[in-house]
Amino acid sequence: MSSASEPKILELRKVSFSYSRQRPLITELSLSVGEGEFIGLLGANGSGKSTILKLGSGILRPFGGEILLWSKLLHDFRNRDRAKLISYLPQTLDITVPFTIRELVGMGLYPYDIPPAMSVDSALDMVGLQDKASAHLADLSGGEKRRTFIAMTLVQGAGLLMLDEPLANLDIKYQIELVRLLKTLRAEKNISIIMALHDINMALQFSMVMLVKDGSLLGIGTPEDVLTNARLRDAFDVQVSIIRQTDGSAYIRYGDNA
C-alpha cells in the first residue's frame, strides 16, 4: 500500500457491495494503489477478488463508501475519460470474436479522438505479436491471446491495469512470460498493475500482495509480511507452509506438516 505522501491512483474508502440484499459480499473495504505498483490479489474462490477489481474499474457500483480515481470520484468520470486511465481485462475472454489481432489492439484507440502516443504497431511490437497481426484470436496460443489484450490496454494508454486472473489456464511457460511482460511494462511505462491470481508460488514473486477473505482484507504488503502460514490457512482453509530458502527465495508446501 502506498504511503500517504505518494500520489494515489485508485482509492477505495470503506466500500461495501453485494449482489443480493441478504448477503453483503464486500464490507467497508479500504485500499489504495499508488503509481507503478504491481500488486497480486490473492484469495480463495468466492472471496471477492473479481468483485474488488470490478468495483475498482467502475463496472460495479458500490452501495456504500466511495471510490476515487486520481482523487476524483470514479463514477463522476465520463466513460471515455475513465477508459484513458483504467483498463480492466476480465478472466474469460471470448476467443470466437471475429476480429484480427490488429483490429483488436486498435480498439484501444476507441476512447480517443486524437490518437495517443502509442501506436498499434509499437504495442504489437512490445508484446511480440507483430507477425500475428492479421491472425485471429482463435489461431493464437493461450499466452498470445492474453498478450493481444495487454497490447490493447497499452494502446488505450491507461496508467492502471486491472487483470482478473490473467494466468488462469496458461501453461507455466506462458505464465512466466506474461508476468515478465507485465514487469517490463511497469518498469518502462510506470504502469500500475493489480492482478487477481490463484498461484501462491507466483504471488511470492510479487513486490506487493493483497490477501482477501470474504470481501475483507486479511493483509496488504510484501509477500513476506502478508503471506504467513497462519493467514494463508485462514484465507484458503487448508494447511500450507511457506518454505524460505537461504538464498531468499520461497515456495509453498501443501499438507499437514506445517
Partner: protein, 323 residues
Amino acid sequence: MMGINVKIWLIIFVPIVVFGVSLIAGPRMINPFTADDISREILISIRAPRSMVALLMGMALGASGAVLQGILKNPLADPYILGISSGASLAAALGIMAGAAFVGTFTIPLLAFIGALITGSIVGIMGWKRGGLWPERLLLAGVGLSFLFSALLMLFMSISNDEGLRKAMLWIFGDLSMSEWSKIPYGIIFVGIGILISLSRAKALNALILGDELAHSLGFSPHRERFILFVSVGLLTAASVSLGGMIGFIGLLVPHIVRFFLGSDNRVLIPCSALIGGALLCIADIISKSVLPPMELPAGIVTAIIGSPYFLYLLRRKNVLSI
C-alpha cells in the same frame, strides 16, 4: 488479391450500376435515351420508385442484419428474428383485410410502421432487466412474440375473405409492385436515420462483441449502446417492412458476404452491408420481373433462391457462421 480500397470502391460502384440496370430491365427493356412518352412514363412512375424501394429496403435489411448479428452475438440473427416484422405484418394485413384507407395509399405502410414500433417496444420492454437490454432476453422475447403474431396473422387470414387474403399474402411475401414515389421521401428519412445512428455506434458495437466488461473498459456504457443500436434496428426494420413487406434472407446473408471479403469491423461492415443489401434486392427485383413476363415472382423468393446456394458455398469456403 484485391486491395481493400478496390473492394470498397467496387461495393460503392455495384449498387449504382445495378440500380441503373433495374430501371432499364423489366418485362420490356427500355432505353432511357430513346424512350417514347409511354416508356418514359413507365420509367419514371413505375420503375424508378420500384427500384428506389428495392434499394432502400435492401439497404435497411443489410445494415440492420449486420447490427443485429452483433448485438445478439448470433450469426443466425436477421432483422425479422425480433418479431418486429411479424408485428408489422399483422397490423398491415389486418388493415388490408379490413379495407382500411384512412390516409389513402399511406394507410398500409403507416399501419405496418406503427405495428413495427409497437412490437419493437414490447420486445425492448421484455428484453429489459436490471437497467439494460440483455441479448438473450431480447432474442427469446422476439422469437416468442414472432410466433404469437404469426399465429394471430394465420388466424385472421383463415377467416378473411378471398380478395383481402390474396392482397395481404402478396404484401407479406414482399411485394415491390405497389411502390410509388410518395413513399420514397419517408423511406429515405427513416432508412437514412437508422443507418446513420448505427454507423455512429459502430465502434461501440465492435466493443460490445468483445463482451460487456471489455466494452466498459474501452469507455462505453454497454446497456446504453445496446439500447441505441436496438432503436436503430427497430427503425430500419419498421421502415423496410412498411416499404414493401417482408423480404427474407438479405438481412441474414448480406453481412456474411461482406465479412467474407472485408472482415468484421462494423465501421466497414454496416455501410457495406447496406450497399450490398440494396444491390442484391435490386438484382432480385430485376430477375423477378424479367424471367417470366408478364408474371412477376415475389422478390423475397428470388433472394432466397439465389442467396441460399451462395450462402452454402461461403460456408464451405470458410467458417462464415461467425459474427
